[in-house]
Symmetry: C2
Subunit: 214 residues, 2 copies
């Protein structure tokens, strides 16, 4: 498998964690999101993924896109260790936590959105950072409530084994810290991120551990 990735892309980071948790080898193909206006906007990459977004996974001659779709694919094609629980109601809970991050927080703070704010709406650096912290704050508070208010939360987001929701949580917490967000009101989020940080699968997936890290 080939993973088109950028060290700091939190969507790629999610997939790297999932691949590592499942013990799957892959070739990392770096796609630089900044250099030369972004390699993801150049024809070579757009031919693979017309959305021009990272990550993409090549497997069995096909290119898969969208981090959560890729992780669900890995789950179906390599079921063990499972990243989703067995019961439909529990699976729905784990997917909802993952989507509360992947849909409600991340896209609003994506690089292209921040660029639009500064280029088209003349947002200052301060306004841009306030925007970023606002959506992480609102979004992670919702995740905290989902986690803290549910007995199914364990050492990880769901029970005592890492799964899909943890693959999303850790990269989001990484971003939150990078932008200096206030996280004290999110003790469950922080506790789980800390537990994940102790696992090799998460360590090897971290931005600073990537071959294209700067």
């Amino acid at each position: 498998m080939k993973l088109y990735t950028y060290f700091r892309s939190s969507a790629a980071y999610r997939v790297r964690i999932a691949l590592n948790l499942k013990g799957l080898d892959y070739e990392a193909v770096p796609v630089h999101l900044v250099r030369g206006g972004g390699e993801h906007r150049q024809p070579a990459y757009l031919g693979l993924n017309p959305a021009g977004l990272v990550p993409a996974l090549e497997d069995q001659g096909q290119v898969l896109t969208q981090s959560l779709a890729i992780i669900e694919y890995l789950e179906e094609s390599h079921p063990q260790p499972a990243l989703l629980p067995a019961a439909p109601l529990d699976r729905a809970r784990v997917r909802a936590i993952a989507q509360a991050i992947a849909c409600d927080i991340h896209p609003v703070n994506n690089l292209r959105v921040l660029q639009y704010l500064t280029r088209e709406l003349d947002a200052s650096e301060e306004q841009k950072n306030a925007w970023y912290r606002h959506w992480i704050g609102v979004g992670l508070q919702a995740v905290e409530a989902m986690l803290a208010g549910d007995a199914r939360t364990g050492a990880f987001c769901h029970g005592d084994t890492p799964g899909l929701a943890d693959c999303c949580l850790v990269p989001q917490v990484f971003n939150a810290r990078r932008f200096g967000c206030e996280l004290a009101a999110m003790p469950t989020v922080l506790r789980i991120a800390e537990t994940c940080a102790g696992l090799e699968a998460f360590q090897r997936a971290a931005p600073e551990a990537q071959p294209d890290a700067e």
Copy 2:
């Protein structure tokens, strides 16, 4: 089942389509997103869904959130008719199309984001509408490329039966039209939306057909 819904919420619209396609009866509980600052921000609703977003589905005494997680739950708990194909690579494709809409387009144009633009960044009505059309344009062009460039596209997004991707596509096209987006460059998207519009499951899910329509 109880569906907490707002007639114009495109995430709720997706779930209404899925429920109808599966022939499942549900009680619609309207949550007004504008009146009184938004019923979704009031304690009664936040107790059900701490994220304060619509939709939420109540089933078997539990509250499920996030539209795609809800639809996957319906798929697992009521497998027929299937909204996802059988093969993992095909399922990944359908999920990627759905997420290209649900993650990359919709959240950036969500009501709360538009409100932030005007209230915090002093965006004019014109700038707000340009933002809206920009992200729909970029996002639906990517979806068009995913659909037009793949032989698995049929009468619907994947083959000749409606599924998860169609549940997402139709509400997004509805929003695009509402905001006067230029859609001429997206013939496959338009053709599929037109086909869906002929089906009762989509007609009954439409905003104007809801009990809380205004």
